[in-house]
């Protein structure tokens, strides 16, 4: 469903992604792993249109996205959960969750039920300004925000940071269940979480893909030892 | 943004450059009937190049430099008229102007810390400098009115010669003496500023403009540094004010208006914010255009605004760098024509 072909992208004149080729199909969970600074976050941002693409193609459902502004890409059914959480700090939890609903022209409490079942504490913080939530709660909120519009592709950046292990496990379980309607692309620092939850893994190094395969293949080829634990 | 930092120019570039500069500053005023215009260009070049160190190089947008210019000039003028007709008033005036620069800079920059969004930092600078201009204008219009001449400006300045040392006096009505002073002072101050700008300090200024946080990480106290640069530009503004007073024998509160300083901003933008001599090109273009256009139409301001919009959108680097690369381009072309076999 998502295809990156020979993508070159960067921030202004400094390039961070070099000839990147990657894909995510329907009904699967894919992780990107690698050391700090290899371009995991940049890949997600490039898909979303938040950084400058110099050449190469990004296709979603066979449609070329390269020229599209961010908001149009969002409307195609891609949801993004950034590593800095991207919470709207001065508005309430409820309002934070309403923004994506407005954008995708959706209504209704039924979309919120999933969020509540995963993160019941959000109900308690419903009318609180999001900036007053704790780090972990904010992390939950931002994941909930991504889920609430039932996207075709959910992109998550480093969610293991700031979440208690049981919560992560709940998320993993939930993601497995969601797989049928929402594919997930995960950029993850914590290799164990990534391997635990994914079907396939891309190992990035210096802005390109160094290795990719199923979780089993990664273990066999010792890709992690080769490319991450250098 | 292409930076050409520390591009080591061949020696003779400097020699030629400074020779041209010396010619313009010291000889040209005596050769042409447009001497007032040339003098204006000289004094304003000094003013803007000092200003540009703060504005273009370091990224501090201030509309207050007219204040420092004016305070210096007024102090000299008032002291000379009411106290002591000697050259000692000049350093006092310049010192006062510089001190004002320091104070305004301090207030503006103190809160412009790096943890605050860049737009906010610039907003503070702009607002405080506008505030300073209004307050100063008020001070010189009301309490100090009988000294400053209020709306009419300072009158009666050049009537007596200014004592230097012993019997040596400067005849304030003698064009030759004045032009020589203006030319020599400007030449040396600009040379000094150029040395500063070409040194590592100049690099730091540009670095602060681009990413102040990182410069802080390198161990520099960016607040102190910026304040230093700002005060320096205030110092240059004060010198320019002194020279202006010597040359025109007149100063009025109009210079405190932020619109006056905004002309400096336009000049720096036109001439190139990143090139040291850019503002000089900008000054020449600006003053000549102003002269020419004002004689045709009253809407000089409108024309200026359009030029400014155009430059911001399409020419953010200014015209200066383009003009400076012209000699090199010409030499290259000429070189190619003469040595076809090697090219």
């Amino acid at each position: 469903m998502l295809e990156l072909q020979n993508l070159n992208a960067g921030y202004g004149p400094s390039q961070v992604l070099f000839d990147l080729t990657m894909n995510v199909k329907e009904k699967e969970i894919v992780s990107i792993i690698g050391r700090n600074g290899v371009g995991k976050t940049s890949t997600l941002k490039a898909v979303m249109g938040l950084i400058h693409t110099m050449s190469g193609s990004i296709r979603f459902d066979s449609a070329e996205m390269s020229g599209l502004p961010t908001y149009k890409r969002g409307r195609l059914g891609i949801a993004y959960v950034p590593d800095d959480r991207g919470i709207f700090v001065n508005i309430t939890t409820a309002e934070n969750l309403r923004i994506p609903l407005i954008g995708h022209k959706m209504e209704g409490k039924d979309n919120l039920d999933l969020a509540f079942s995963l993160f019941p504490i959000l109900k308690e913080r419903w009318n609180q300004k999001a900036g007053t939530l704790s780090g972990g709660e904010q992390q939950m909120l931002t994941i909930a925000r991504g889920l609430v519009v039932r996207p075709k592709l959910l992109m998550l950046d480093e969610i293991s940071e700031g979440l208690a292990p049981e919560v992560i496990m709940n998320c993993c379980a939930a993601f497995h269940k969601l797989k049928t309607e929402t594919s997930i692309l995960l950029a993850e620092q914590d290799v164990r979480v990534a391997m635990e939850i994914s079907d396939r893994v891309y190992v990035m190094l210096n802005g390109s893909v160094a290795f990719h395969g199923t979780v089993a293949q990664v273990k066999e080829e010792q890709a992690i030892e080769k490319f991450i634990h250098l | 943004m292409e930076e050409t930092l520390f591009r080591k120019q061949p020696r003779y570039h400097y020699v030629i450059g400074y020779a041209v500069l010396a010619f313009i500053f010291l000889v040209l005023p005596f050769l042409t009937t447009y001497d007032v215009l040339v003098e204006d260009i000289i004094i304003w070049s000094l003013f803007t190049m000092g200003f540009n160190l703060a504005f273009g190089f370091t990224g501090m947008v201030s509309l207050g430099h007219g204040v420092f210019f004016g305070v210096s000039a007024f102090t000299i003028g008032i002291l000379t008229l009411h106290w002591n007709r000697s050259i000692v008033t000049i350093p006092i005036g310049i010192a006062t102007g510089t001190l004002t620069g320091f104070v305004v800079g301090y207030i503006s920059l103190k809160r412009a810390r790096v943890d605050v969004h860049k737009a906010l930092r610039i907003a503070y600078l702009v607002l405080i400098s506008i505030a300073a201009s209004y307050v100063t204008m008020y001070i010189f219009l009301s309490p100090l009115a009988k000294y400053s001449g209020a709306e009419m400006g300072l009158l009666g300045f050049p009537n007596y010669p200014m004592g230097v040392v012993g019997d040596l006096k400067i005849d304030l009505k003698s064009r030759t003496q004045i032009y020589l002073i203006v030319g020599v002072v400007s030449f040396f101050v600009i040379g000094w500023l150029h040395r500063i700008a070409s040194s590592p300090a100049g690099l730091i200024m540009r670095a602060v403009r681009e990413n102040e946080i990182r410069v802080g990480f390198l161990g520099y106290n960016t607040f102190r540094f910026k304040l230093l640069v700002y005060t320096l530009s205030g110092f240059v503004a004060s010198i320019a004010g002194a020279l202006y007073l010597l040359r025109s024998s007149f100063i009025s509160v109009d210079v405190f208006d932020f619109k006056f300083t905004s002309e400096l901003v336009v000049i720096c933008l036109l001439g190139g914010r990143n090139a040291f001599f850019g503002p000089m090109v900008g000054t020449a273009i600006f003053l000549i255009l102003k002269d020419v256009i004002s004689s045709y139409t009253a809407s000089w301001g409108l024309f200026l605004a359009l030029v400014l919009i155009f430059s911001v959108l399409y020419l953010p680097g200014g015209l200066g760098p383009m003009i400076f690369s012209l000699p090199k381009l010409l030499v290259q072309r000429w070189g190619k024509k003469n040595k076809p076999a090697l090219m």
Binding site: P69 | L306, I309
Partner: protein, 286 residues
Amino acid sequence: MHLLIITQLISGLVSGVLLTLIAIGVALTFGLLKVVNLSHGAIYTLGAYIGLTTVRMCGNFWIGLLLGAVIAGVVGVIFERFCIRKVYEYPVMGFLITFALMMGLTQTIRLIWGPGNQLAPQPAYLMKVVYLGFVPISSYRLFTVLFGAVIMVAMWFLISKTNIGLIVRASLDNRDMVDSFGINSSRIFMFVFGLGSAIAGMCGVLASPIFGLFPDVGGQMLILCFVVVVMGGLGSIRGAMLAGPIIGVVISFTTLISAGFSYAVIFILMAIILLTKPMGFFGDKL
């Protein structure tokens, strides 16, 4: 003596409300686009002059008010779309280009309508004096402050209770995320900018009998708006609503001594605020 104080107080509140309305445009533009919009004052002036010409042509103040608002709004949108938007990333350029737009617009106004003072239009039936208790007040000022308050309430409602207002508030925090959820933030900003400009233009017509009608009036107004915005917190609407009347009242009392004095006081006040509480009343981290 009491009478003087109350009169000045009321006069200050009237100016304050007007200042707030204009300042809201500046505050929003800064919060959303991170650009200090120096041309906002010129837009106010434009509205005022459009009102003048309209009333001259058709004699109806209300049409003048409407047309002033609409044309100011349109011009504002044009400025945003073609000039300001392009320099969003570069605060220095933003300042420069809005400065140029201000100069250009003011000069054009001066060319078209002449540099002098004009007599501002007022509906005849509002040129009476009414009494609040024992205090006389021009019914026009009364009308102005009430109308202004209504608009302020409407703006508040728009910002806090509607979807668009929510989008604006979210964009103040994190514009990229708003985009990522499928919302065209640029279009929303254009709308907000246009609205702010329209209100400024409307204030131009409304306030001309009070503040005067000459090409530089917007510039002077803008300076005061900056003080309001700084005091209330750059980007904060609530702050502007609180600071506006305060500044208005301060001005109306200090003007009794002299205009220059009131400016000096205002600016020293602003400098103090910037030094002690740079975020103003409600400004949050940007």
